[in-house]
Assembly symmetry: C2
Homo-oligomer: 468 residues x 2
């Protein structure tokens, strides 16, 4: 170890190598559930340094875990046992010039998502990835976890926004796949395989990202509906009527709204009616000629005539639009401030959301009577953040956390869905994956992993553990 | 071999097993450039039969090549040397019921694309994959080659339209990944990896495909422009003005138009002006409220004021729209009827199309003076079908075919593009891949292939040959 530390210190210099004593801020995931002490943190400044670090660690048989903004929810960017190296990409944060004619931009992996948005501001182009952690999340981590977010149903997940990649492989070899075209069928889709591989197949150092025209107008509505079935029916109509310009279709429930309003005092609720379910609808267009408000109003009127929509309002200003979004986005914070919580991230076919919510509710109630259920998320792709708070008066889940998690994950799986929709597996969902996915699928992943990293040095605790 | 033949005949029955003598129609690719005699053709009726066939072939060490509609252009669906089994999926052609609320449909791999379009007709949903061969191409082949087509810039390639897959692996093991959600980050994106793997990693037997709302209105224009630079500039503006509803942006040149008009006598040209370049523009919407003609007219007027558009007309009827599209789609037929030809399928960043066309023209002219160049394709994603006819009076390319191919492919590669944009590698582009892609990339592909098919029985001649 000492020998490797000396080697890495020499490769990286004093700015690039932090020994164990300084590694504190990098050691734990941000929910503080995972992470063991590294023997040092490597902070390379360029691809050549990443390559040299990996070559050295590989030769020494020491594990390396890449870390971006460390905003993941599944412990995928920290160590599973002491002694490995954390490789932080934060110093590699260059951002190229947006290319409007080709609709792309080159970036380094350590670029923070918000910085990319800022860079594109005023260029007429946008990168359509938005999520709560965008002030810290880095491009490399977004790629490694194949991030989704609120606009994925329309613009795709991270893998759909990556045209080209540069990746340093387990032994330090550099794969230059920095091509800038959507259509590249010269063999396997390596760029797609690396997306979502959580640092287990290679370390992403650079990327060519796909850009879209920036919207010139938006219309945003907050709706109250009787229940999830109404939300699904309304959403189906909305996709048919406004499919090309629909950019947001978020749902949440009474409990989530209540927790947000109670704990986040700056929030206000703009309507008189309360309901079983709420929808935040946003349509947007790069063209100034699209009659967005007409489309939204017509669909809303249809929903009211059909009894699917109880009440609703269209944002009259950007400030009000922001306020609507905060009602949705502050719900995780509201629930956090309420006390103990369990987060789940599942997906079911969008048409089955109501069925899932009803069945999952019954399962949870049977396991822990009175458990408070807060399903919210992305209606158009069926991604439900099915979060729980303990029963009123209870401080925790009475030892039922694992049973609840398995019931929820199992149900999503039975319904042709996913128990790990957008947050990945990391260390947190390995047991679930082994329980809920077929041995064939787990073995396929292990085979691929072993083929690319036979020495099992790359994030060996994530996805499909490399070491027994 | 005799033993395996008996075994396969028993597994498949008389409807499902065709011995060598009957294999003629399956033996060659449709350009009649590749294919060796198989010792039989397996035509399984269900996944269990596919599994049994692969298990038997695997045990015998005999190669298996899956074949869909056999419309590929790179020899990926036929044998590279005599004696293997061709596995035709044509009998597995079931099509499920479209699910409007979830936006998906389950199909078997042998379903012909046109049958899927017919099935969806009137449902309010569409599957946004259109290509010349859709009357024969099967879903499994589209997945295996990761098909692109004219709408890929908007709706993605085949990998973007696949939610779930069932795949039979090399030894007959069945992987059931028939999930029906976009967001599934439970490990590696296996569904994406199988797309474009050309039957070398497994045989796709079923899929869950993503559907989009069907358009309720369209506007289609045929434009004449001075040159490719004008086309790129106009296309950039069009993406910004009509990004969400742009569904077609095809370009072609004077030679291609001329060959089509000369040889396909049912075609007519509707404008007075001829130019250096032509654009076929289509915008479409599922909403009846979008002012499509206004958007198109306004952008067209802008183009004329800027001198980018010389002439143009908007289709006044569905019949005229069809006639515009035929002008584009009959160009390969026109060139085929002209005599000898060379087809190339490259992509460059869309903003560099004009630069590519100029530089590639100069390279080709230097290699074979007078060679007639017909670049056409998909402007919005930079996919150029750069096809050649011999110089006037010449019957062929005078032995320069390979040199021309390498020059064109090399230039696309230098420009951060691809030499195999949407047709795949098959057997035809192995040498190009080995010449133009890094050894690191080729080795990565071989490692993945070996991990999933160590016995090298699955289509061993395609992608990155498994047998030395």
């Amino acid at each position: 170890m000492t020998e490797l530390a000396e080697r890495l210190a020499k490769i990286l210099g004093p700015k690039g190598w932090m020994p164990a004593a300084e590694a504190g801020p990098f050691q734990r995931d941000w929910l503080d559930r995972y992470g063991a002490p590294p023997f040092g943190v490597a902070r390379p400044a360029c691809t050549a340094e990443v390559s040299a670090v990996l070559a050295a660690a590989h030769a020494a048989g020491v594990a390396v875990v890449p870390q971006g903004g460390n905003t993941g929810l599944c412990g995928g960017a920290v160590l599973g046992s002491p002694g490995g190296v954390i490789l932080s990409l934060g110093r590699m944060n260059a951002c190229g010039v947006p290319d409007a004619a080709s609709g792309s931009i080159e970036v380094e992996a350590g670029l923070v998502l918000q910085m990319l948005h800022d860079r594109l501001d005023g260029s007429g182009l946008m990168f359509p990835m938005h999520l709560g952690a965008e002030g810290s999340a880095q491009v490399g981590g977004l790629i490694g976890t194949n991030a989704g977010g609120s606009h994925a149903f329309r613009f795709g997940m991270m893998q759909d926004l990556v045209l080209g990649l540069e990746v340093v492989l387990a032994d330090g070899t550099v794969w230059n796949g920095m091509r800038a075209v959507q259509k590249d069928n010269a063999g396997y889709q390596l760029r797609r395989l690396f997306c979502g591989s959580e640092g287990t197949l290679g370390i992403v150092t650079r990327a060519v990202l796909k850009l879209h025209p920036a919207p010139r107008q938006r219309a945003t509505a907050l709706l109250v509906l009787p229940d999830e079935a109404a939300a699904v029916a309304f959403g189906t109509r909305l996709r048919a009527e406004a499919g090309e310009v629909l950019t947001g279709l978020e749902f949440f429930c009474e409990l989530g709204l209540d927790l947000a309003l109670r704990h986040v005092t700056s929030l206000g609720y703009p309507l008189e009616t309360r309901g079983g379910t709420y929808l935040l609808v946003e349509i947007a267009s790069a063209s100034a000629r699209m009659p967005l408000e007409d489309i939204l109003t017509a669909t809303l009127e249809w929903g009211m005539e059909e009894g699917l929509v109880l009440d609703g309002t269209i944002a009259a200003s950007d400030a009000q639009r922001g306020a609507f979004w905060r009602l949705r986005e502050e719900q995780p914070e509201g629930q956090r401030l309420e006390g103990a919580q369990l987060k789940h991230d599942v997906a079911v076919p969008p048409g089955r959301i109501a069925e899932f919510v009803a069945a999952a509710g019954a399962r949870c109630e049977a396991i822990l009577p009175g458990v408070r259920i807060n399903p919210f998320g992305h209606l158009a792709d069926g991604n439900i953040h099915y979060n729980l708070s303990p029963p009123e008066e209870a401080a925790d889940f009475g030892g039922k956390a694992q049973e609840l998690g398995l019931a929820i994950a199992g149900l999503a799986t039975e319904m042709s869905g996913s128990f790990a929709a957008e947050h990945g597996l990391g260390q947190a969902k390995i047991a679930l994956a082994d329980a809920l996915r077929s041995p064939v699928e787990r073995q396929l992943m292990r085979s691929i992993r072993r083929a690319l990293d036979p020495a099992a040095v790359l994030n060996p605790w994530a996805v499909a553990p490399a070491r027994d």
